[in-house]
């Protein structure tokens, strides 16, 4: 399946993954971030409960310097 993460298309061999699978794959588990899945924020407690499927759009954001 193909999903779009932060505007970049990525291909996975599986037909569905959880948000937890995704953060493990991206190796961002030690960082502070928030995830939006098809326009909806996923609470951390739901990371293993949701399914990400073909064509889904994800935004993963963090805090950076700004004024």
């Amino acid at each position: 399946m193909k999903i779009v993460i932060n505007g970049i298309e990525k291909e996975f061999k599986k037909n569905k993954i959880t948000p937890q699978d995704l953060v493990n794959f991206l190796k961002i588990t030690g960082q502070r971030y928030a995830i939006e899945h098809n326009g909806e924020i996923i609470p951390r407690s739901d990371f293993s409960e949701r399914d990400i499927r073909d064509g889904d759009m994800l935004e993963i954001v963090g805090a950076v310097g700004g004024g």
Binding site: Q31, A34, G65, G67
Partner: protein, 266 residues
């Protein structure tokens, strides 16, 4: 509070108590070490941060801003810089709240024009209404229009933050009289946000009676940001104390010399 006293002169925003009236941004520094040194020197307790896409490249272990400015030592103020619509600003702050573990004190800014970064007050008001309904404590960046400032207070913003001049311009306080009207009319804290260029600008803002000043470029783009951070701290404190003390009246000339007129040697 007694206007002529420094005791208990705290800045209270949405029930949170701060001792520093200087709020600083964390952008435009050369590196995180410089960011931290400058912010420590400034004495600021509230620091703004932007919300951006996480870098999903190779360097996952590189340090982040949060490592240098631990959220337990500073009050984070996530902003909506770069948002040009109410919807984008709301989306950004919902993500910020999730990212910062439920933290709901935020800086709302909705821009209207990429050349000037002038605020779009209609979109700002629309976004503020939604965010307040969702439980956010909204500190709002706006123009120096007193009517808009009043409306932002009326809908429930916890601090109103008019510009002194355009973001990043360093032009100083271009319309002190509008700021005075806003300060006189509003009951929530009024914080000058944007346009301050040097320490005297910060002092003037505080002498006008502002409750605080938020700045970023004036420190980060100074020749020596850490030295300027200290200068800004002093400018804020000097201006605040002068405001509390109450300045003397201006006179074109005075027949009242400071030295005694009696006992002159003849």
């Amino acid at each position: 509070m007694d206007k002529r006293d420094l005791k208990n002169d705290e800045l209270v925003i949405a029930g949170r108590i701060f001792n520093s009236r200087l709020l600083v941004g964390t952008g435009k520094y050369n590196d995180f070490k410089e960011t931290r040194s400058a912010i420590e020197k400034s004495g600021a307790e509230i620091v703004t941060v932007a919300i951006r896409r996480t870098n999903l490249g190779q360097n996952q272990q590189e340090p982040s801003l949060l490592d240098f400015l631990p959220p337990d030592k500073f009050t984070y103020l996530p902003n909506t810089a770069g948002c040009y619509s109410a919807d984008d600003a709301i989306r950004t702050l919902r993500l910020a709240r999730e990212l910062l573990g439920g933290h709901n004190l935020v800086k709302l800014e909705v821009l209207g024009d990429s050349d000037t970064l002038y605020p779009n007050v209609l979109e700002t008001i629309a976004a503020a209404k939604v965010l307040i309904k969702e439980g956010f404590d909204v500190m709002v960046y706006t123009s120096d229009d007193p009517i808009v400032a009043q409306q932002l207070e009326d809908i429930g913003c916890c601090a109103v933050m008019p510009l002194a001049s355009l973001i990043g311009s360093g032009m100083g306080i271009l319309n002190p009289h509008n700021l005075e009207i806003i300060i006189n009319k509003l009951t929530v804290p009024v914080i000058v946000d944007a346009g301050v260029g040097t320490a005297s600008d910060a002092a003037i803002a505080m002498e006008l009676g502002c409750d605080g000043v938020l700045m970023n470029t004036a420190i980060a783009a100074a020749g020596n940001p850490i030295l300027m951070a200290g200068a800004m701290r002093k400018g804020i404190e000097a201006g605040r104390e002068a405001f509390l003390a109450g300045r003397m009246n201006k006179k074109l000339y005075s027949a009242s010399p400071s030295s005694p007129t009696k006992g002159l040697i003849k």
